[in-house]
């Protein structure tokens, strides 16, 4: 199976659609900046900086891309617009590639774990619960038995919200109601998954700002408790990031990683922002792979991230 083939045509169209804003912005802007230019001059580089920065790529990564591009141009001698597009595309692909990580090609691959336990973390309002709902749907469609743990016992009606997703997906939700100890919910959810032979167990947690030390400590505890039921769990600690978040995303990744050893990222609301550029910055700055992307409001609008497809989508005219 080739790298690209797992994207069914329909899925790819959704990605293209989801990235429509990013794509047109980045691609068209760069083309525009190049109009009437026969060489890469400071003026163009300034424009490119603006384009990348306004796409939330982040200033560090932007400077890195520009720096590399300048070197390439000096070495390879640039002649035309399409060639420059190509160079830029290669550089961005390279940035994403440096982040060596194996993203499974479909939802049925659970890396030999049973149950495969995912703990979902993130700041308030990034879309954790929704992402869990969509994940459950995808795993279910891949023929997996899924259990959810309602660990957001703090925000009003959060348990209720997860239960509705549970009903929609016809999966069991382990819950203790509101204002209960989230760690004990996590413990029971993993235990239930083990006892009932579930393939996937996804634990929700309350949104928390990463500078609230008490809450971050609570998160470490929730994580620790799971390993008491089953060694090595949670296998995946998924940090959910809102694609419209600016540079604070980097601090979020740093703090959540410090508290829970985040090993996968989900980027949500990518359909709403012109700034899919954050994917590039995130991939470059952290060594944590983007694993899932949310590209729409439908229950099916969650995909495993494929960097090649992503770069293709960015530059396809």
């Amino acid at each position: 199976m080739g790298i690209f083939s797992f994207f069914s045509k329909e899925k790819k169209e959704k990605l293209d659609q989801g990235l429509e804003k990013t794509k047109t912005s980045l691609f068209e802007k760069i083309s525009k900046a190049l109009v009437g230019k026969s060489s890469v001059d400071d003026d163009f580089l300034d424009k490119l900086e603006e384009i990348l920065v306004t796409s939330d790529v982040g200033i560090e990564t932007t400077l890195k891309i520009i720096d590399r591009l300048q070197k390439r141009v000096a070495k390879d001698k640039y002649t035309g617009t399409s060639e420059l597009q190509n160079l830029l595309r290669q550089e961005i692909a390279l940035l994403l590639d440096e982040n060596k990580s194996e993203i499974p090609v479909d939802f049925s691959d659970l890396q030999g774990k049973k149950p495969y336990v995912i703990m979902v973390v993130g700041v308030n309002g990034v879309g954790k619960t929704t992402t869990i709902g969509k994940l459950a749907n995808q795993f279910k469609k891949a023929g997996k038995k899924v259990v959810l743990g309602a660990g957001d016992t703090f925000r009003a009606a959060a348990v209720q919200q997860l239960k509705i997703w549970g009903e929609r997906n016809e999966v069991h939700v382990v819950e203790h109601g509101m204002n209960t100890d989230p760690a004990s919910v996590a413990f029971d959810a993993v235990k239930y998954a083990v006892d009932n032979g579930a393939d996937v167990c996804i634990i929700d947690t309350a949104g928390r700002l990463h500078n609230k030390i008490n809450l971050m400590t609570e998160l470490s505890k929730i994580k620790r408790v799971m390993s008491k039921v089953l060694d090595g769990t949670p296998h995946e600690i998924l940090l959910v990031l809102d694609a419209s978040t600016g540079q604070n995303a980097f601090e979020q990744a740093k703090q959540f990683t410090a508290a829970t050893e985040v090993n996968a990222l989900a980027l949500t609301k990518l359909d709403g922002t012109a700034k899919g550029g954050v994917v590039i910055g995130v991939a470059d700055q952290f060594k944590i792979p983007v694993k899932y992307i949310g590209v729409g409001e439908g229950i099916d609008d969650l995909q495993l991230f494929n960097k090649h497809e992503f770069v293709d989508s960015l530059f396809k005219s």
Binding site: K21, E50, V53, T54, S55, D56, I59, V123, N124, G125, V126, G127, T130, G133, F154, R155, A156, A157, A158, Q160, Q161, K163, I164, W165, M178, L209, H210, N211, K212, I213, N214, D242, S244, T245, G246, Q247, N248, A249, E251, K269, D271, G272, T273, A274, K275, V278
Partner: protein, 442 residues
Amino acid sequence: MFDNLSSKLEKAFKTLKGQGKITEINVAETVKEIRKALIDADVNYKIAKQVTDTIKDNAIGANVLTTVSPGKLMVKIVNDELVALFGGKTEEISTEGNPTIILMAGLQGSGKTTHTAKLANFIKRKGKSVMMAACDVYRPAAIEQLKVLGAQIDVPVYFEEGNLNPVSIAANAVKHAKENNARVIIIDTAGRLAIDEQMMNEIGDIKKTIKPHEILFVVDAMTGQDAVNTAKAFNDVLDFTGVILTKLDGDTRGGAALSIKTVVEKPIKFVGMGEKMEALDVFHPDRMAQRILGMGDIVTLVERAQDVFDKEESDRIQKKLLKDQFTFQDFLSQIQQIKKMGNLKDLMGMIPGVGKAIKDLDVSDDAFKHIEAIIYSMTPKERETPDIINGSRRKRIASGCGRDIQEVNQLLKQFDEMRKMMKTMNKFQGAGRSMKGLPFMR
């Protein structure tokens, strides 16, 4: 909260340190640093450029002032520019109409439902009757969430189970508010993307139908470069009247606030500063600019204290103090009042000079936990008359709360000293009063 930006600016100013005056060359370096800091703080690229250009012009024009160090001068120039950008003065919410209709709008996850309730709580505390309406018919359990929050703050919530048309729910809610003589009705709506035409039309229809007096755009302070486009798109459809900036208690640099203000020229009216229902502050442009430069915000702190402290309770304690009857029970209630004011670290961060010092410090919200535990382990009688707490009682209290007996002793000692101190103070006050009673003291 703007720690990062202010420390970056400080670094930028350092380049200027030790130089006699501002010249085109040394200002260029600094300005570049400021621009980078602003962009890094999520200020929109174009606006950052605009700001730094103005700063540059002003700085070079000001190079005759040799009495002030260039660094200080730059601080002032940047501060002035930021204040100007934020729009000068505090803006209140509308009190027009009967009821005043407030419509909330924004992206998914920006905090609309939470801030609908916070705002309702804010208005309620001002003594007005307020209602909320749940018009988010899309997100699972959104209505339930508003109902739970409504119960928490004791504000009625209008909702229609099964009605999937937010326009009609909103219209009915306004009618309902009128019939029930509510002074203010706040309409919570579903989160929507600015590019979702259908959803944007829907909120446009809600606006047309209920004709709100106030439309508040709720936006996450952590938003990046796209803040400008989103704010513009919502403004094009709704022509909103103000902005609520949420999640400012995070460590975001909050540059989006600057961008939004500049692009849509609408005032930021409130900022959300935490998860508690009281954590909503009126936005003060001047304070915000000062905050960016790390000057602290003591005024907000004082106001929040005034707001949360229960006047009657304070008076009661005051009286007891005067009569030298201050007990552990009173002490406990004071601790609880302080805790109501919000996150301790946030509170301390508002004290000028402290913000930077505690940036990396772990201030636990549990600072009072042990004290509370000890007091909770006392019997009511012990709390009222601490003098009866002898050795065996101390031992029992210590084992009851799981702290060392030394810790119990320490608390008793501190409490005793506190009472003595109050006694002395009272004596002075008392003396003053009695002297006033003498004819020659008039």
